[in-house]
């Protein structure tokens, strides 16, 4: 191990002698069935990783088609029916089948038990069930797609979805219902695990912030998702029986659906972003060799976001005819929920102060996250502000805003996390310069795609439009060009990560010299993670402890 001061902390074992550990979770058992019936959280994480990547590329393909159609103002590539099906599928797949399970079901599943010093999640069988539910949900979504598509938009607005469309709404609603239970079970598993499976010495305030973030997100999954489930059940029943709890001509209130839908779907935004924030905490700390600035504030801000996240859903309905008085209440609460995010951003930034910073790929993605999430978060304030919301909502401004948060934020964090833990998950490194190139490409492509959309939004271009006035074309062309770059940025990791599985350098236990428990075990880990139950005798992100430990090893070895 080279101790020379360079511009990297990556320390790989001597490649001539190093090898992947003989026994690990990947080769513990062989055969497809051993994967499909596994209870091992790490194998389930891999199953999830494969399936969400699959759906990400399907969702991404739809995004590409949408951008291609919008290259010209005329509705020339596809018919408007098809276009509507495109953005509906893009939304449903990206939200319910990619973003919601992305970090929690892959990285969270893989890492939470290890970070807590546990052998597995509390309910391995339910964990596996959760993946099967996800697969069933995904299959139903694909079925809805193959049978002819859905054109409700991912929001299922009533009475459009209940009485005015004859596409496969029920199939899609069932898919989301079932995928929702996958998410509930993941969240439930995490909460129980975090409460009950911590190793000796692992107090709440010694847990990595990644775990805190997942704890907060899990609370949202468990409490929010069932409300979406019942809203979708009512939509399905209303379609089947033709009755009208959401139909004004029969005495129902269409806004009731909006309330129930957004009661989940707003917190869902935090389900998507919180785990990403957890990833950023780990990465920033590791590559600046410093404990997170104000650990407690960052930990509690996760919980605060989760809590406040439940009180703001009506800001999706400000112009929909809700009471002005309650709009005031919800607008005020929306402003409050923005504060914990600001705390996080500045705490991360100050973590760098007096650090010893290196710029490996995960760190580049994290910097990207911080910049883009700041823009995404602050443009959210525009939409939380009542008067501004009137002009901006339902335009491309809101499209740009939530893509900054979801794609600029969550997807960047997801990629940061994948690159960060890839050596742990597979035991191998990816090509560093290529991955840096991908990170930069993604960042540039992202900004080119979505910055013009803010301007389009203020100009008034409505979302979900198949054709648009010709004066908006220049900005749309820029956006489509950006999407192409972005597409390349996402393809690259696919290729080199796959390549690295066979040809990547052997990573060793702790290539980043990180402090988490997961880095103290072999890569890839054993099936039961630890040979013996670890005892946590130091704070999270304690780099002095790590230095002492390394020194001790060096002296005992030679």
């Amino acid at each position: 191990m080279s101790a020379a001061i360079g511009n990297t902390i990556v320390s790989l074992p001597d490649q001539t002698t190093a090898q992947i550990p003989k026994r690990n979770y990947i080769n513990n058992e062989h055969g497809l069935l051993s994967w499909l019936l596994t209870g091992d959280h790490k194998r389930i994480a891999i199953l999830y990783l494969i399936s969400i990547t699959f759906f990400f590329f399907i969702g991404g393909a739809f995004a590409g088609l949408i951008r291609l159609e919008l290259l010209t103002p005329q509705p020339d590539l596809v018919s408007s029916d098809t276009y509507n099906k495109f953005f509906t599928m893009h939304g449903i797949i990206m939200i319910f089948l990619f973003l919601v399970p992305s970090v929690p079901a892959t990285l969270g599943n893989f890492l939470i038990p290890i970070m807590l010093g546990a052998k597995d999640l509390a309910f391995p069988k339910i964990n596996l069930l959760s993946w099967y539910l996800y697969v069933i949900g995904g299959t139903l979504t694909l079925a809805a797609l193959v049978l002819g598509g859905v054109d409700t938009g991912w929001t299922f607005t009533t009475p459009l979805s209940t009485h005015y469309l004859n596409t496969h709404v029920i199939t899609a609603a069932m898919a989301i219902f079932i995928a929702g239970f996958a998410s509930i079970f993941t969240g439930l598993n995490f909460i129980v695990t975090i409460h009950r499976m911590r190793c000796p010495g692992m107090t709440w305030f010694r847990m990595p912030l990644f775990v805190w973030a997942h704890y907060a997100a899990s609370l949202l999954m468990v409490l929010g998702t069932p409300v979406l489930a019942i809203a979708l059940v009512l939509v399905a029943l209303e379609r089947i029986f033709g009755i009208g709890v959401f139909d004004p001509t029969k005495g129902g209130d269409p806004l009731l659906f909006q309330h129930l839908f957004w009661f989940y779907s707003h917190p869902a935004v935090y389900i998507m972003i919180l785990p990403g924030m957890g990833v950023i905490s780990e990465v920033i700390s590791t590559f600046s060799r410093k404990r997170i600035f104000g650990y407690t504030a960052v930990a509690f801000s996760s919980v605060a976001i989760a809590l406040f996240g439940f009180f703001v859903w009506e800001h999706h309905m400000f112009i929909m005819g809700v009471s002005n008085y309650s709009a005031l209440v919800f607008s005020l609460l929306t402003m409050l929920v923005a504060v914990p995010s600001a705390i996080k951003i500045f705490n991360w930034a100050f973590t760098l102060q007096k650090g010893s910073i290196t710029f490996e790929t995960p760190m580049l993605y994290s910097f990207g996250f911080m910049g883009l999430f700041t823009i995404g978060g602050l443009t959210g304030v525009f939409l939380g502000s009542l008067g501004m919301d009137i002009h901006l909502t339902e335009t491309y401004f809101i499209v740009a805003h939530f893509h900054f948060v979801m794609v600029g934020g969550m997807l960047m964090a997801f990629l940061a996390g994948i690159h960060f833990w890839w050596p742990k998950m597979t035991g191998r490194m990816y090509p560093e310069s290529l991955s840096k190139l991908a990170a930069v490409t993604t960042f540039i492509g992202f900004n080119l795609t979505f910055l013009p959309q803010f301007i389009l939004g203020y100009l008034g271009m409505p979302r979900r439009y198949h054709a648009y006035p010709p004066e908006f074309q220049v900005l749309n062309v820029l956006s489509t060009a950006g999407a192409t770059v972005l597409g390349v940025g996402y393809m690259l990791p696919m290729l080199y990560l796959a390549w690295s599985l066979k040809y990547g350098a052997i990573a060793g236990d702790n290539p980043w010299q990180a402090t988490g428990l997961e880095w103290q075990i072999q890569s890839p880990p054993l099936t039961e993670n630890f040979t013996e139950t670890p005892i946590m005798d130091h704070e999270a992100y304690d780099y002095e402890w790590l230095a002492n430990k390394t020194k001790k090893e060096v002296t005992t070895v030679g």
């Binding site: 209870g39 391995p124 439930l188 129980v192 009950r196 409300v227 059940v233 009512l234 009755i243």
Partner: protein
């Protein structure tokens, strides 16, 4: 690797007990828990969290009920009066009895009385089935009266109660239409409740089979306890549904 197949539990994929965990006494102990106490607490905590999601699941419908009851109170009152209070009360008692049997069953498992446990599980099932039978009867009556929401829904009983021999104030036609919302909520809520009971009964039969095989006679009672929580939760939902749906306005106003 030393591994012994744990014989009893089809519930878990992990059936290995590793050599380094020799302090593990019971075969049903999962390898990844340190102690049985931890396993038991995790199990019951998990079950409670699941019930939390169930509260929110029914919560959405309860809110819809609250809203429309306030908007269309006359329709709700009259429609509610078409439900049978005797049947509803009997059914409540039946369900409480079923819950009581379940509770005794949990006790029997805890004190390791296999015979009592099996008997109680069977009684719980029987009372659950009686409840569903009565519910079916009530549904059937509504079907015959065309009170199932949908195209065949008929409001004439509410606009012209005298013609049906019912002592009610006639509703204006627009308000009478709103009885459909009541019946929709009635069927959605009791239907969702019945669905939970059907799932519960399926689980009960499986647990009964395992109980008589002796799975729960050696101090391992977590499945029985956790199922008990589920079954009692279903009871609680009904405890609220009964007054809300059956007893909106049973007293003569005039």
């Amino acid at each position: 690797m030393d591994s012994a197949l744990a014989t009893t539990d089809p519930n878990m994929p992990e059936t290995e007990v590793h050599a380094e965990h020799e302090h593990v006494a019971l075969p049903q102990h999962r390898h990844h828990f340190e102690t049985e106490e931890q396993q038991r607490e995790a199990g019951s905590f998990g079950m409670w969290l699941f019930l939390l999601t169930e509260i929110m699941f029914f919560g959405g419908m309860f809110f819809a009920y609250l809203l429309y009851r306030n908007w269309y109170y006359p329709a709700f009152a009259v429609a509610s009066n078409q439900l049978s209070v005797p049947l509803g009360t009997i059914n409540t008692a039946v369900l409480i009895t079923s819950g009581f049997c379940m509770a005794i069953g949990v006790w029997a498992a805890e004190v390791r009385k296999k015979g009592v446990l099996v008997a109680m599980l069977l009684l719980t099932t029987v009372f659950g089935l009686i409840f569903l039978g009565v519910k079916y009867d009530e549904y059937h009556e509504k079907y015959e009266l065309h009170h199932i929401p949908g195209d065949s829904f008929n409001t004439s009983m509410f606009t012209n109660p005298a013609g049906y021999g019912i002592k009610e104030e006639p509703l204006a036609p627009d308000m009478a239409q709103k009885t459909q919302i009541f019946f929709f909520l009635y069927f959605a809520m009791t239907g969702m409740h019945a669905l939970h009971m059907i799932i519960g009964i399926a689980l009960l039969l499986w647990l009964t089979w395992r109980a008589q095989r002796g799975d729960f006679s050696s101090g391992y009672v977590a499945p029985i306890e956790n199922f008990g929580l589920y079954w009692h939760f279903v009871d609680i939902v009904w405890i609220f549904l009964f007054p809300l749906l059956y007893l909106i306005n049973r007293h003569p106003l005039h």
